[in-house]
Amino acid sequence: MTPEPTPPVSLRGEPRLQLLHISKRYPAVLANEDVSLVVQPGEIHAVLGENGAGKSTLMKVIYGAVKADMGEIMWNGRQVDIPDPAAARALGIGMVFQHFSLFETLTVVENIALSLGGEFDLATLAVKVKEVSQRYGLPLDPLRHVHSLSVGERQRVEIVRCLLQNPQLLILDEPTSVLTPQAVRKLFETLRQLASEGVSILYISHKLDEIRELCERATVMRGGRVTGEADPRQESSASLARMMIGRELPHCEAPLFDGERKPLLEIRSLSREPEDAFGTRLTDIALTVHSGEVVGIAGISGNGQAELLAALSGETPVAREMVHLCGEAVGHRDAGARRDRGLSFVPEERLGRGAVPAMSLADNALLTAHREGLVRHGMRRFAAAREFAQRCIERFDVRCGGSSALARSLSGGNLQKFIVGREIMQTPKVMIVAQPTWGVDVGASAFLRQTLLDLSRSGVGVLVISEELEELFEICDRIAVLAGGRLSPAVPRGQTNAEAIGLAMSGLFAQPTPERAHAA
């Protein structure tokens, strides 16, 4: 080829990005099969599909993080080869990953400096970070260490990092899972503004109403193939869901509980200083979860959620009387001892906490389900662990390469189904779940929510901590709000609404809790 004069970047009529017949095979699955897709300049384009449909893989192909086996990529009308993310960034492609890739021991601004490469001055960069984060409604302290950030805050770092590079195409893989409703509004404004300036956006989300509001085109994927294209503004959430999962979306059923209502998990004036300087102090938290009910805790991550969960699970023991499990004071006991007494727990971080990334699903079953006969006389029973994992995979419809698949090879939603399944199969008396459906597709979310409801109606006390109000209103019998390390009283679902909860989330409780009024 002879070198030609370079055409202007935004040549009219030239698509920004064109994928032609992309295929990618992993050992166990065909993740992308003959996928074609066109994105115009300034277009906000949604990619829809169940967990494991191949969306993230396709995005990684565009970003150069995964090499396609077949197919071509056209960028502004020219065929390009994108061997690695650096090349993608050089072309003007930015991506916010579903799993974050930040260095825990560095500060926010240091992390961003590293990814920008080249020469930089930390002080001016910190100012820029601050500016961009404020402009886009993504509040961030550039000097904080990443290890002290919540999942939601880490995602903000990733988004800001991309925006600093002035991309022509921005890929967002489930960006809003952990943002507050207001922040989602702000982000949408930003994205619309970026689009009006000609930046194209590829947007993956499981929240169909968001997609209907934001996107003008949608490509639907199922099992690695493109199964349809739609204008989401012309569709209903139900019709989009149908395209995604190939059938009607099930509805959650919350039957009445007719068993005896006993207190199972009692939190009694729990207070705790944070472990590090940026944690949240828990102040005088009180809550009781009874058999047969689902209690929800609403609120935005970073308001004491992580600290409360660690205190309840036993990962950071507290004073003996602060936590009661089935009538026994267990506040001082560690996680294992609480599990021995009937507690199950699904944490927010699936990889590295709820599961060991480098271990197989069978080995990960052993992590907490060793109480289910997977160990005898101190020796592992491998066949039993495989069998347990296999049952979990089947019962909870985990899409993976079998019980020997490594935990880190599963997509987020499927790993979540496995962890929830593993915990439920231990027939707990109390089940605590953090962000049950974060990153889980609509079909699987409905299934998980119904599973938690059914679990509670079998006499288990279920505590759900979630940022998604809709989810809490769908499954919870009572809802409390955690804001600034204080917990509002749990109110029956029928006696509250989204506005009241939203108000409480900003820290203004309708009335002070009796305990605190007393102390004052």
Binding site: A87, A90, G314, A337, P347, G352, P357, G378, M379
Partner: protein
């Protein structure tokens, strides 16, 4: 940098790395011999072939490999949990002192129970010397890398005080050494005229037990989780302090056993040359053996061969004694370097990067 992370760690590379490391060590070793004016061909023959030419060579090989393998088995448990005991040498010496102390306390004993008592005392001494860093770590969060190493020096000083004062052999012409142990205090020889003794069975049994422990026990699984994902271990409620105690006490115990194997074996008394650095060399053995009980057997044999080869080369080629240490050090160095390629790979060839740079230029033009 020329490296980029792999999407998934390469399993192939984790087995290829030790082989690659050995090849690199040999190549650099050849250059080294050339620089010393020695024909590498002859040097390698002296180093690696001649020591194994007769029965005595094999006996010496096993005699040296046994303590290395034994100690490395214990160390590997801790390394899996990221508990780095680098003071096994001190635990070995403590084992020798405790076990040897029993022999010195009953100099006339002919009892069949004397040797078992020494073995027990040796294990206890080593375990105790491992327990101190465990206590310091769980109570005061003191780094075990520092405490184990410092305690190794302490053990050495205790030994030299003992053999130069209270336990010195009165008939020993003022040499810092104890009396020679009686027959009842020594492992018996396996073959006439060879130094190989029954203590190898301790190592053999240990390999079997450690293999069982690592591949089958739930406790070993918990330790491994603690090393791979500390948060997951905390989430599951596997106590971190138990892992610390287990790793350090167990590796101290095996080192103590190795110590008694030396003093009740080829050395036959307490003196200042109980071990030619087995406790340190075993660290390399554990890594090269991929922390795997069977892998450690092979790497232990290799390391023992380097010891023998180094001695043979000293005699036949007048090379300096340091050559043994150089080979051991190179082996570890190259292994760690090759290990990088388990998780990383070289960047794509230059051509593709040029293409990317070109694309960038065009896009900004």
């Amino acid at each position: 940098m020329l490296l980029e992370p792999r999407a998934t760690p390469s399993r192939w590379m984790s087995y290829a790395a030790p082989v690659l490391a050995i090849l690199l060590t040999l190549s650099v070793g050849a250059l080294l011999f050339l620089a010393l004016g020695i024909d590498p061909h002859e040097a390698f023959h002296v180093f690696f072939i001649k020591p194994l030419a007769d029965a005595n060579g094999w006996s010496e090989l096993l005699l040296k490999a046994a303590p290395l393998i034994l100690i490395a088995q214990g160390l590997a448990i801790g390394f899996r949990a990221r508990i780095f005991n680098i003071g096994a040498e001190g635990q070995l010496i403590m084992g020798a002192i405790f076990g040897g102390g029993v022999a010195i306390a009953f100099p006339e004993s002919q009892s069949a129970w004397l040797l078992p008592a020494m073995v027990l005392a040796g294990a206890l001494g080593g375990a105790l010397w491992g327990a101190i860093p465990a206590l310091l770590k769980t109570r005061f969060n003191a780094e075990e890398t520092l405490t184990t190493l410092m305690l190794a020096y302490v053990a050495n000083f205790i030994l030299s005080w003992l053999v130069s004062d209270p336990w010195r052999d009165p008939a020993g012409m003022n040499f810092p050494q104890s009396v020679m142990f009686g027959d009842a205090a020594l492992f018996s020889m396996l073959f006439d005229g060879l130094r190989l003794n029954t203590s190898v069975f301790i190592t053999a049994a240990a390999v079997l037990l450690f293999w069982l422990f690592v591949s089958k026990s739930f406790l070993s699984y918990q330790v491994t989780v603690g090393g791979l994902a500390p948060q997951a271990a905390r989430y599951a409620g596997f106590p971190a302090s138990r892992t610390v105690w287990l790793s350090l006490v167990l590796s101290g115990l095996t080192a103590g056993l190795a110590g008694i194997g030396e003093v009740a074996g080829p050395v036959g008394q307490l003196n200042l040359n109980i071990s030619p650095g087995y406790g340190y060399a075993a660290i390399i053995v554990a890594w090269i053996g991929r922390l795997h009980p069977v892998g450690i057997v092979f790497s232990g044999l290799l390391m023992a061969l380097i010891y023998l080869g180094g001695e043979a080369a000293q005699m036949a080629l007048q090379t300096p004694a340091a050559i043994t240490g150089i080979f051991q050090g190179m082996l570890l160095f190259f292994l760690l370097a090759c290990d990088v390629f388990i998780d990383f790979r070289l960047r794509k060839p230059l051509e593709k990067r040029r293409a990317a740079a070109l694309a960038k230029k065009r896009a900004t033009a």
